[in-house]
């Protein structure tokens, strides 16, 4: 049992492959066929391609902002691949890869960051909650959904995610306290990418790691190498089994590095060094998985061709997002209430009168 064998109180870290893709913890290697491993890498390649394109679209002024997921690919692939259609995803805002595997489209992601609320209306994704900008608040919703599916005796598991900075919010602790108390089928992930915008983890907490916080709430916790796809996969697999057995919630600290900026508005050179970035780049999740596949000789695809194919797909989705019909006045009002008050209707009518006047002045 991973959750027993890697005690966060002793600051142990769970890892299966090293930076060269060599298996160092064979007994924990998840039982995956070659095809699944190749598929995992392809997912990660798609995430990274889409992510880099998103940053570039923003730089071209075609999107307002975007929080890059660069470096988080192993966490996203491993959790997404352990989720079923009926399982719930309660994201923060740096989970694009997981969202894609749950059926959210890049078009929707783009729409959101172009400033259109339609980007949170996931047409083909089952049980995905809109992203949470209000830091940490989503953890409580995940706990509530966990209670709900348990109460309704549904075979559904809830996955939620927070950043390292988010663990400082009261909502984080309150959600986990309830989770322990209620024994809800929720898998809580902390994507510890070392920085809350400019503030490093060591300035957020005096705890030896973040997984250790689980101890106080009476739920299992483990610190995992978040750039190790196999370690992340094995951890999620075990967490899913734990939840399915009705044992309750777990907390997973996935140790990674935010290779990009917090969002495209942020400049990391202000608060971190090139040396530190170089050190972390050695742990890159994609390079490690690729090296593993190379050792095994199972990767036979042409990566450049794949990237070109993915780029065409992402371009198409971006174009669709850009070609959405213009935002209408009705879009401001129509979803404010299920039962719209008359007063709102009047405000809209008054504004239309103003628009008529404005037209007449042209």
């Amino acid at each position: 049992m991973i959750f027993n064998d890697f005690n966060p109180l002793e600051d142990k870290i769970f890892r299966v492959i090293d930076n060269d893709g060599k298996v160092i913890n064979k007994e924990y290697m998840p039982d995956l066929d070659d095809e699944t491993i190749i598929q995992a890498y392809k997912h990660m390649l798609f995430f990274r391609t889409a992510d880099e394109m998103a940053v570039s679209f923003q730089r071209q002024g075609r999107m307002y902002t975007y929080p890059p997921c660069l470096g988080h690919e192993a966490i996203h692939a491993a959790s997404g691949m352990n989720m079923r259609d009926q399982d719930w995803l309660v994201p923060a805002f740096r989970e694009v890869g997981i969202m894609l595997l749950k059926g959210v489209s890049m078009k929707e992601i783009f729409l959101y960051y172009m400033g259109n609320e339609e980007g949170s209306n996931f047409k083909k994704a089952n049980h995905v909650i809109p992203i949470s900008i209000s830091i940490g608040s989503q953890y409580l919703h995940a706990t509530g959904i966990g209670y709900s599916v348990k109460y309704q005796k549904k075979d559904e598991i809830v996955f939620t995610s927070i950043g390292d900075g988010g663990t400082s919010e009261g909502d984080f602790s309150e959600a986990l306290n309830f989770a322990g108390n209620w024994k809800v089928p929720v898998i809580y992930t902390i994507q510890n990418n070392q920085y809350a915008i400019s503030v490093p983890v060591k300035n957020q907490t005096n705890a030896i790691n973040l997984a250790v916080k689980s101890v106080g709430f009476g739920i299992p916790g483990v610190k995992v190498d978040g750039n190790d796809f196999f370690a992340m996969y094995a951890t999620y697999k075990e967490a899913v089994e734990y939840a399915k057995a009705g044992k309750g919630a777990v907390l997973i600290e996935a140790l990674t590095y935010r290779k990009g900026a917090h969002t495209t508005s942020d400049d990391p050179t202000k608060y971190r060094t090139k040396e530190e970035e170089t050190e972390w780049h050695k742990t890159d999740p994609m390079h490690r998985l690729k090296k593993y596949m190379d050792h095994k000789g199972i990767w036979k695809e042409n990566e450049e061709e794949l990237i070109e194919k993915y780029k065409l797909e992402v371009d198409k989705q971006f174009e669709e997002a850009e070609n959405m019909p213009p935002y209408k006045l009705d879009d401001v009002f129509q979803h404010m209430y299920v039962d719209m008050p008359d007063d709102l209707r009047k405000q809209k009518a008054d504004y239309e009168q103003f628009l008529t006047w404005k037209e007449s002045k042209k």
Partner: protein, 331 residues
Amino acid sequence: MEGEQKMSVMTIVQAINNALDIKLAEDKTVVMYGEDAGLEGGVFRVTEGLQKKHGVERVFDAPIAESAIVGTALGMAMSGLRPVVELQFDGFSYPAFNQIISNVSRMNNRSRGMYKAPMVIRFPYGGGINALEHHSESPEALYSHIPGLKVVVPSTPHDAKGLMIAAIESEDPVIFMEPKRIYRAIKQEVSDDKFSIPIGKAKVLTEGTDVTVVAFGAMIRECQKALVMAKEAGISVELIDLRTIYPLDKETIVNSIKKTGKIVIVAEAPTSFSVGGELMAIANEEAFLYLEAPPKRVMGFDTIVPLAKGEPLYMISPDRIFYEIERTVKF
């Protein structure tokens, strides 16, 4: 001393930084913290350079926990310090709401004056910057509705500096809302010396006779554009900048209404139960017999501020202000 003042051209960001710098330098009880507000100087760089100058013990980064930021500041304020805390955006002041409404605003009253709360909670507010959710809101009515707080909103670099110094020196807790949309849009000559502007005093920016327009913060600039249109239409507008939302400078407003007989209120927050509503109540209670037209609010819809694509429909534009000014004058 007068006449020898050294002036510098400042933005609102620089003016607030300068005010904080002056108070940190002259008063060792002043401390300043918030998310990313230390080393990086805040996401808008309002506190840039202050940690380097005044030390990490006095200017520092806080963990992401708004309730803790405000709650600990109250602890400091009750025990001899004068904390100035930064909340990163308007929408992130809500996690601190419990501390603000349940403790910060009440401590003086609760302790019968034994424990005061001389602290400043500052955050950027308002829309028009194409931001994500929770980054575009104008919660002045929420905070003005809480007994025990003072709420300040500057509209110029000069006012931002003078009001910030007054806020830090205030014995009562002050909510200091900074118009992020014009953080760097306006440059103005501001005195390098220490000066303060009294909290609770509005300012008549333009004198006029046909209609009173009341606004504050980032809407002042939009009103000034509307005033150009009004002038072309032959309408004489008296423009008042509230500068402080609570306590409201009723005298200045009422005197103006007595002169013009008409009032138009401009703000970006939702219309219902707003500062606009309060101003209309004052117009009715204190200048009823002088009113020649119904008071008018030009304010946001009772909706969430839309994301960037829809935001232009929500934001109050100069032509919409002019449209309502003209309708009110022609009533």
